[in-house]
């Protein structure tokens, strides 16, 4: 009776949780409904976790003596894991968000792998199909765990250089093949009383190779491609969770896992599209040092202007589109930029922020960084919606961005960024570029926009430039107050 009631409650709560998780993601379709969406999903998750303690009433008689210890371990693991992650999640800077997401994602992959390990080491016998699903989940989860840790280290600048040696991709392929072979042999030998290697050792070898493969797969990938990698591993973890959900006969895990698997896949494709690269190239093409390319001679010259002059010019413009890049976040200038924008708005200037899909270190990061600084989201527009407006705009203010406004992407077929969608800052009547120096962008190429006739360079740290522009404009309006 107690067993039946427990199963009924767990089943119902998990069903509700699966619905709430999907509904929560559904509400992410707009910044208005999204905050309540995550709360809804959180309630579902909390209920599912609480209900799973009812499993204590459904365990086999042989497990009963272990229950007190198991419950204690479960409570301790929940408190420690959730406590540390909650604390660090509250504290982490928005600029460090990609690392945090990578790390939390790796944890999920590790958890899926650990569940698979218990199933494999455990005494329960499985059919061949179930063993294959368990192993597949174990493989994907393990790759996600070790790969995410490497991605985190790269994003956190602990690992600087991508790993390269000739034949690396072949070597990686062999490692993966070996892992699959070991897994296949485990399924084959499951019925055998005496496999060549004792089963527990086979399991250890399998996990070892899978973890090593995750590291090897991630090491050659450059820092700029890390957003795609995080997204791929997010999908991997989802998939692993879904597969282990099948093994545990838990449909809530299957649904939530597969949902994330599909989400990760879609985001990965969107991002690769925005970077004008194929996913396969990012993951499996080992990039050496980028090929040296002779860039055509650039006409025109760099025309430096003072920040204060630029600020005053913008004060008397009608419309401005700001193109922020990661350089703005590096100098922590978002807040100071918004102070300047508020001054312009008060003077009747129409101001918008145009965001390129790959601005920042993960998709949408620049949007969050601006939101953190207090910029209302209705001022933030995306590439497809704003690109036509540049030609009717008085000033494009490019601040800390480079490759995403490089007109070469439209015209020069030999350019490494050819075909990448760019923001048409060059079509604005006047263009100010705030930059620290004459350096090149991530793609390592000179940007002809900087040499264009209507472009003026404002040299300096983004935050400092914003401060001087603000002071210059304040000085116009109320000289007494500024002094």
């Amino acid at each position: 009776m107690l067993i039946t009631i427990s199963q009924l409650i767990i089943g119902s709560v998990d069903l509700a949780a699966a619905f709430l998780l999907m509904f929560g993601l559904w509400r992410m379709a707009s910044p208005v409904t999204a905050p309540s969406g995550i709360l809804v999903a959180g309630v579902g998750m909390l209920a599912a976790i609480a209900a799973s303690f009812l499993y204590v009433f459904t365990v086999d008689a042989t497990v009963k003596p272990h229950l007190p210890l198991n419950i204690g371990l479960a409570a301790a693991a929940l408190l420690i894991g959730a406590g540390i992650a909650w604390w660090s999640g509250r504290k982490v800077a928005i600029t460090a968000m990609p690392q945090a997401v990578a790390l939390f994602n790796g944890m999920g992959g590790g958890a899926a792998g650990a569940i698979a390990a218990v199933e494999l080491f455990g005494s329960q016998t499985h059919g061949a199909a179930q063993s294959i699903v368990t192993l597949l989940g174990a493989l994907i989860g393990s790759i996600s765990l070790s790969g995410s840790v490497i991605a985190w280290a790269k994003l956190d600048s602990l690992l600087k250089k991508p790993l390269h040696f000739p034949g690396l991709q072949w070597f990686n392929g062999l490692v993966l093949l070996l892992c699959v072979l070991v897994g296949g042999y485990m399924v084959y030998a499951a019925g055998d009383a005496t496999p060549l290697v004792a089963m527990p050792h086979l399991i250890e070898i399998f996990f070892g190779i899978a973890l090593v493969y995750g590291i090897l797969m991630t090491l050659p990938i450059g820092g700029a491609d890390m957003p795609v990698v995080i997204s791929v591993y997010n999908a991997f973890t989802g998939l692993a969770v879904g597969l282990e959900g099948f093994v545990l006969q838990n449909p809530a895990l299957m649904i939530a896992g597969m949902l994330v698997g599909a989400a990760g896949l879609l985001l990965t494709l969107l991002m690769a599209q925005a970077m004008n690269r194929s996913v396969a190239k990012i993951l499996f093409a080992s990039f050496g040092p980028s090929p040296t390319r002779k860039q055509g001679a650039i006409k025109g010259s760099l025309k430096p202007v003072q920040a204060s002059d630029a600020g005053i010019f913008m004060r008397y413009a009608k419309s401005i589109i700001i193109v922020p890049g990661y350089g703005l976040a590096v100098s922590q200038g978002q807040g100071k930029l918004y102070d300047f924008v508020k001054l312009l708005q008060a003077a009747g200037v129409s101001v918008k922020f145009a965001i390129h899909p790959v601005a920042g270190r993960m998709p949408g990061q620049m949007d969050v960084l601006l939101a953190e600084a207090g910029v209302p989201y209705d001022l933030i527009v995306q590439l497809a919606d704003v690109n036509e407006e540049f030609k009717d705009t008085d000033v494009a203010l490019v601040i800390g961005a480079n490759d995403v406004v490089n007109p070469e992407a439209r015209t020069d077929k030999t350019s490494p960024i050819y075909g990448m969608p760019i923001l048409n800052a060059d079509q604005a009547k006047k263009c100010y570029v705030v930059k620290r120096g004459d350096g090149k962008g991530y793609a390592g190429i000179v940007n002809p926009l900087f040499y264009a006739e209507n472009t003026y360079m404002v040299y300096g740290d983004a935050a400092a430039v914003c401060t001087s522009m603000t002071e210059a404009v304040r000085g116009l309006g109320a000289p007494a107050a500024a002094a």
């Binding site: 929560g24 910044p31 999920g108 449909p251 209705d378």
Partner: protein, 130 residues
Amino acid sequence: MNYQIHIDGFVAVYIFMVTAFAGWVIIGRVPAILHTPLMSGSNFVHGIVVVGGLFTLLNASTPLEQTIGFFAVLLGAGNVAGGFAVTQRMLAMFKDSGHGGTHAAHGARHAKSAKHAAPKAVKAISPKKT
């Protein structure tokens, strides 16, 4: 009566297929401005793996199973709590300009149906004015 769930081969494939399709549709609605919270939010969703970890740990009967199960719950709990904390924090930062008058309900409904809505005339849900 028995409420033990049994999902066999093809049923599982059907579940996976329908869910993948639903996921694709649901995520396709999310505007680019929310892609970072979406990523951490979906990260949070697969944190439900902690439920599987709890099942495994509570059914453990050997020290080895208990040890690995402990780590499954530990990592899963980290995934859930961390994913929720960062997502909720980021989403709370998104505010609008605060204009739009008293058409709050209408605006919200409109935003829900619009595909790539970075809604223009949506009334501030948040009390904080900029």
